[in-house]
């Protein structure tokens, strides 16, 4: 099984440590990982802003880079969801269909394809999980509070096996953080307010670290935390799962 690692554009440029943790984690789990150099972006920033047409080149580049892998794994629920849900705008060749079917968010891949829950990580901290929306309600990485049914969460399942992690209970367990791509600037006031409210919930619940499947949400929250000098850290879930402190 050959896995293609997709590192989202902003992680590649701004949060390389998240990419490194993802790669190291997958290698630790004995996955044969390849990283195609020509990759850029899944196309989501343009498409979610209403410019799907401008994203066609990015989509095609994505498929071209990843078509020969058995699975494509990425530390982003949002990007994985975009490939699966919105790549209907390019011609549905066998390669495109295959890439869409084989793209997985990291936790989803570990739990459902590798069928591993215990990674052997340790991280002695109180952790608040921010359930990023596209992973939660798009990829269904867990049950959401709106739906009625069996409760589950792949993220929690993995974190519960990490030695020392104490998961905190939030008042609003799956409210959006307000990032939303270009929404973060076009609706700046609401975006900031939503972020502040999420952070307060984590602080009130005693979290030391906020983690998520998506660095985009975390970048937004971190921006507020840093500006307001709040006692919280953000870490992508790959960084916790790869931790052995």
């Amino acid at each position: 099984m050959k896995v293609g690692l997709f590192i989202p554009c902003y992680i590649n440029q701004l949060y390389p440590q998240v990419g490194i943790a993802t790669l190291e984690l997958l290698e630790k789990l004995n996955v044969d990982v390849g990283y195609p150099y020509g990759q850029t972006c899944c196309g989501q920033p343009m498409a979610n802003s209403g410019y799907e047409n401008e994203s066609v080149g990015a989509c095609q580049n994505f498929v071209e880079n990843f078509k020969d892998f058995d699975y494509i794994v990425t530390p982003s629920g949002s990007c994985a969801y975009h490939v699966k849900k919105h790549y209907n705008i390019i011609e549905q060749t066998d390669d495109v269909v295959n890439v869409r079917n084989k793209t997985y968010e990291l936790c989803d891949f570990i739990v459902n394809i590798l069928k591993i829950k215990h990674i052997g990580a340790s991280f002695p901290h109180k952790v608040g999980v921010h359930k990023s929306c596209h992973g939660l309600r798009g990829l269904r990485l867990g049950s959401c509070s709106e739906n009625v049914g069996t409760e589950y969460s792949y993220i929690d399942e993995l974190l519960q096996e990490v030695s020392g992690v104490e998961l905190v209970t939030l008042t609003r367990k799956d409210e959006c953080c307000g990032f939303g791509g270009t929404f973060a600037v076009t609706e700046e006031a609401i975006s900031v307010k939503m972020g502040k409210d999420r952070i307060q919930d984590h602080l009130d619940s005693g979290a030391e670290v906020i983690t998520a499947t998506d660095t985009s949400c975390l970048m937004h929250l971190e921006g507020l935390i840093t500006r307001n000098k709040q006692p919280l850290k953000v870490l992508h879930i790959a960084e916790i799962l790869n931790s052995t402190i």
Partner: protein, 455 residues
């Protein structure tokens, strides 16, 4: 005004935003408790979705069946292609009966058609009898929510409003006193009304009857006292059979307020002796929306308001920020179909978090439709030059790996080396209240290449 502008004004008073958010979250929370205690809730949603989809695909059949049965019951049926025709019909009926005083129970359709000002222009008094509706009517404001029309008003504001209009005593916003006074005031209006106008929640094709859901019994008070009852409905209110009410009434109350059922689910089938009953069936753009495959499911809506209560943007921007008859997520997929230009910012007033679609009792894919409207809006309406060109540029950069690498390098260098005052200067809206990450020296690409070399 754009949604974003209106929202930023609303956010100037953070305490009020917190209060508004909590008030609506409380309703969402009540909805969760109610929904989670129903065995088969998700099956019920599937059924609701299925019945609505089937009905919309056979709308002509069910509408004519409904008309036929309503006529048999002695009800007069009218058809209106748009808001103007609807208003003319209602006005005509009132004139025919020489009605000068009208009581109205909650109806978003008459809001949509702007019926009140139309009738008031001919010196007809129209009193909204739902308490929340009456409050916003006295305040000369539109409703800010379809189920909780005055949710943006604090009880202290209602106190002041009632002192001015109903002559109440100052009471520090005592809800019991204020409600009691409103009740007295409205009783007078009910007793002297010449006609009653109601909305319609469900119109049952196989019986010709209609169902109106209220918590205050005001629809009944109006319709049972006045000699004329006019019920106004959009064409999408039809359901095929009486037994389908069992699905929708269970979904509606729970989704709207967390009640098992609305306090009053009033069935009107025929005029009582000596009285008249009219039903006005209105299109007003619905057929056009039905013709759009991507958006037709928006007509499934049973107006429960759950998408508003759950929407993190609605809760923090208030209903008026949408400047549309129906605010919130469902309004943002309905309104562009009516006036694309006017409502062009609404589909962008969302993070596409998807909570609206998951809370919707009839499973409308609201957030997917928001995404689809965005694609149409950027093509069919004028867009800011900066947005258009930056999207084109980004598209080009991401299509070419070498360009991406170069741009990334420059961006990282800038974040690392430029002074914060420059990074967070005015054009960078992000930086107004948030820091940007420090640009790392190495991208993941750089790190990986180095690692490969050293292996």
């Amino acid at each position: 005004m754009t949604h974003s502008k209106a929202a930023s004004i609303f956010n100037k008073d953070e305490k009020k935003v917190n209060w508004h958010d909590k008030a609506l979250w409380f309703v969402r929370h009540k909805r969760d408790i109610a929904a989670h205690t129903v065995t088969g809730w998700e099956e019920l949603r599937n059924l609701g979705h299925g019945i609505k989809a089937h009905t919309l695909s056979n709308l002509d059949t069910y509408l004519t069946q409904f008309e036929e049965n309503a006529l048999k019951n002695g009800v007069q049926v009218h058809w209106a292609k748009d808001g103007d025709e609807h208003n003319r019909i209602v006005h005509g009926i009132l004139k025919e009966h020489n009605a000068k005083k009208v009581v109205k129970s909650k109806s978003m359709l008459t809001e949509e058609c702007h019926l009140n000002p139309y009738l008031e222009a001919d010196d007809i008094e129209v009193i909204d009898t739902d308490l929340g509706e009456r409050i916003v009517q006295l305040a000369k404001e539109p409703p800010s929510h379809i189920v909780l029309p005055a949710i943006h008003k604090k009880k202290e504001e209602v106190d002041v409003l009632f002192q001015e209009h109903l002559g109440t005593k100052p009471c520090d916003g005592d809800p019991q006193y204020l409600t009691g006074e409103a009740r007295k005031h409205l009783r007078e209006k009910f007793i002297h009304a010449d006609a009653a106008i109601t909305g319609v929640n469900f119109a049952v094709a196989d019986t010709g009857g209609i169902v109106v859901c209220t918590n205050e019994g005001n629809a009944d008070m109006g319709a049972h006292l006045a000699p004329v009852h006019i019920a106004c409905m959009g064409i999408e209110k039809i359901i095929p059979k009486q037994e389908h009410l069992g699905v929708f009434l269970r979904l509606l109350g729970r989704s709207a307020t967390g009640q098992h059922i609305t306090t009053y689910s009033s069935h009107f089938k025929k005029p009582r002796e000596g009285a008249k009953m009219h039903i006005v069936i209105v299109d007003n753009g619905r057929t056009e929306q039905l013709s759009r495959p991507d958006f037709r499911a928006s007509l499934h809506c049973i107006r429960c308001g759950a998408c508003m209560n759950t929407c993190p943007i609605y809760r923090r921007s208030g209903g008026h920020s949408y400047d549309a008859t129906i605010p919130g997520p469902i309004g943002s997929i309905l309104s562009p179909g009516k006036d694309l230009k006017k409502h062009s910012t609404l589909p962008f007033a969302s993070t596409l978090c998807g909570s609206c679609s998951d809370v919707c009792p009839v499973k409308i894919d609201i957030h997917s439709q928001l995404y689809k409207w965005r694609q149409i809006i950027t093509k069919d309406t004028q867009q800011p030059f900066v947005k258009k060109t930056s999207m084109k540029m980004m598209g080009n950069i991401f299509a070419k790996p070498t360009k991406f690498e170069k741009v990334g390098k420059v961006a990282r260098w800038s974040l690392r080396n430029l002074p914060k005052s420059m990074i967070n200067s005015k054009p960078n809206v992000w930086g107004k209240e948030r820091d940007l990450p420090l640009g790392p020296k190495e991208s993941f690409d750089d790190w990986y290449k180095k690692r490969q070399k050293n292996e």
